[in-house]
């Protein structure tokens, strides 16, 4: 499934609006903001259609996945936007992750707990925001909504890190070691980035973590919470992925729409996350050229001054070395 979908669900008392554009969207937030009410309205509509008195406006059918439907293998799709409420116990299972991986559907998961089996984007974590009691309109707003994906750094200020943390020791780590002259540390996996920031910041170092925002959703809450205790000493930069940076810098040329309108190209049945999409796009576009890309081992061609400067130019000014 590809595309971007605006969804409106309403009756005479409440009106919900959200937009989905990736395979996984997560809705969390305060109690009593209408999350479960949204599921109830969709269920009523799916059971009784227009006779329910509920109106659903969406270019793709909106289904609700219940535990009983899951057990009976009565699964929606293909081409559906599948809503899952927080009482759906299989949400945390590997089996559910396998189902989402490769599904020709989009999923909207209502859940406060982090879903470590799923590679969801920090951009697709939303909270429902209600209007005043006299208003019936609620819309989904991004929880992590910083311009240029840079967190914990004041706009216009300068953050010069003593230490740069990357998720792992793959090509991105090697490249960023060339971009920043400061110490560059691999966290040994994205689940350890938050601990690593805390450790380095505690030791007094100004610490910048650079992660793949397209799949960092599950780790975002704990990272932001720990960084809050080291406000002046820690920062997070979360572009979609390292490959996205290389593509955006124009080191390997690809059709601009692939980067600017990824939702029209990153087919959910093929890519578990946009991170996978950008890796495949870069690998395909660079195949047989001097820039042939290998995620596990950085091609020497990317270490040239020209490439490094190209990426530096697209980094947010606040953290640009």
């Amino acid at each position: 499934m590809v595309g971007r979908y605006e969804i409106d669900v309403y009756n005479n008392r409440v009106h919900f609006h959200l937009e989905v554009k990736r395979n996984i969207t997560v809705i969390q937030g305060d109690s009593a903001t209408g999350k479960t009410q949204l599921i109830r309205l969709l269920s009523d509509y799916n059971n009784s259609g227009v006779s329910s008195g509920v109106t659903v406006v969406s270019e793709a059918p909106c289904a609700v996945l219940t535990t009983s439907a899951w057990k009976q293998k009565a699964l929606p799709g293909p081409g559906s936007i599948v809503f899952v409420d927080e009482d759906f116990a299989p949400m945390y299972s590997e089996e559910f992750a396998r189902y989402i991986k490769g599904a020709d559907d989009y999923f909207v998961l209502i859940c406060r707990d982090s879903l470590f089996e799923l590679p969801y984007s920090i951009e697709e974590i939303y909270g429902m925001r209600q209007g005043r009691p006299s208003q019936k309109y609620s819309s989904a707003k991004r929880v992590y909504n910083e311009l240029f994906a840079l967190f914990n750094v004041k706009c216009g200020s300068t953050f010069r890190p003593d230490c740069v943390i990357t998720e792992d020791s793959n090509a991105g780590h090697v490249f960023l070691s060339c971009v920043y002259e400061s110490e560059c540390v691999s966290a040994g996996g994205k689940s350890s980035v938050a601990d690593c920031i805390s450790r380095e910041a505690q030791s007094g170092k100004k610490t910048l973590a650079i992660v793949d925002g397209a799949a960092y959703g599950a780790d975002m809450e704990k990272t932001m919470r720990l960084m809050d205790y080291y406000k002046d000493r820690s920062a997070l930069y979360a572009p979609e992925s390292f490959e996205y940076l290389l593509l955006s810098a124009g080191i390997v040329e690809v059709q601009e729409e692939l980067i600017k309108e990824t939702w029209n190209y990153a087919d959910s049945s093929e890519f578990f996350s946009w991170e996978d999409f950008y890796t495949k796009t870069l690998s395909t576009a660079s195949a047989g050229t001097v820039f042939q890309y290998n995620k596990g081992h950085l091609n020497e061609a990317y270490k040239t001054k020209g490439c490094i400067e190209s990426v530096k130019r697209i980094l947010p000014e606040e953290i640009r070395p």
Binding site: R13, V14, Q28, G29, D30, S31, A32, T33, G34, T36, Q37, E86, D87, A89, R112, D113, S114, Q130, P133, S134, K136, S191, A194, D195, S198, E221, K222, R225, L226, Y229
Partner: protein, 149 residues
């Protein structure tokens, strides 16, 4: 004291979906209890008119079954000591009520996310490690650095 088990709780007394559990077990007096009335007003913005009628600013007159999952869970934690409830059904706007219930009696809940309990001081026992934390920083570091969630 409020006692929290973080992550996967496997006990037989665990209720993972308190919203549904509430609908099938609640007692009328749970709704009209003074603490419940205050919690329903604060979290849902609704006024309790009687055991079977609540006035919601968004939904109009509703039965207890239509209360938010968060406030249902708080009412269960207050009234049913035989079970460990999944407090992930509660948003951050329920945190002060969990602390308030915990000031009056020992309650055990399960949590799967970093609820914001405010800066403190408070007393929360992390059941995974038996440590009593007295401020949010201490609690966050205990939970995150020990990878409890």
């Amino acid at each position: 004291m409020l006692q929290i088990f973080y992550g996967d709780y496997k006990g037989e007394d665990y209720i993972s979906a308190p919203d549904i559990f509430f609908d099938n077990v609640y007692e009328d007096e749970w709704i009209t209890d003074e603490l419940s009335v205050r919690m329903i007003k604060d979290v849902d913005g609704s006024d309790v008119k009687g055991p079977n009628l609540i006035d919601s600013p968004f939904l109009g007159p509703i039965p207890p079954r239509t209360l938010s999952g968060g406030v249902k869970t708080l009412i269960l934690i207050q009234n049913d000591p035989a079970h460990v409830f999944n407090a992930s059904a509660c948003g951050n706007n329920c945190a002060r009520w969990l602390l308030e219930i915990g000031k009056k009696k020992d309650v055990r809940v399960r949590l799967g996310y970093l609820m914001d309990f405010g800066d403190g001081p408070f007393e929360i026992k992390v059941l995974n490690t038996d440590r009593v934390c007295t401020c949010l920083k201490e609690l966050d570091e205990e939970v995150i650095l020990k990878k409890l969630v």
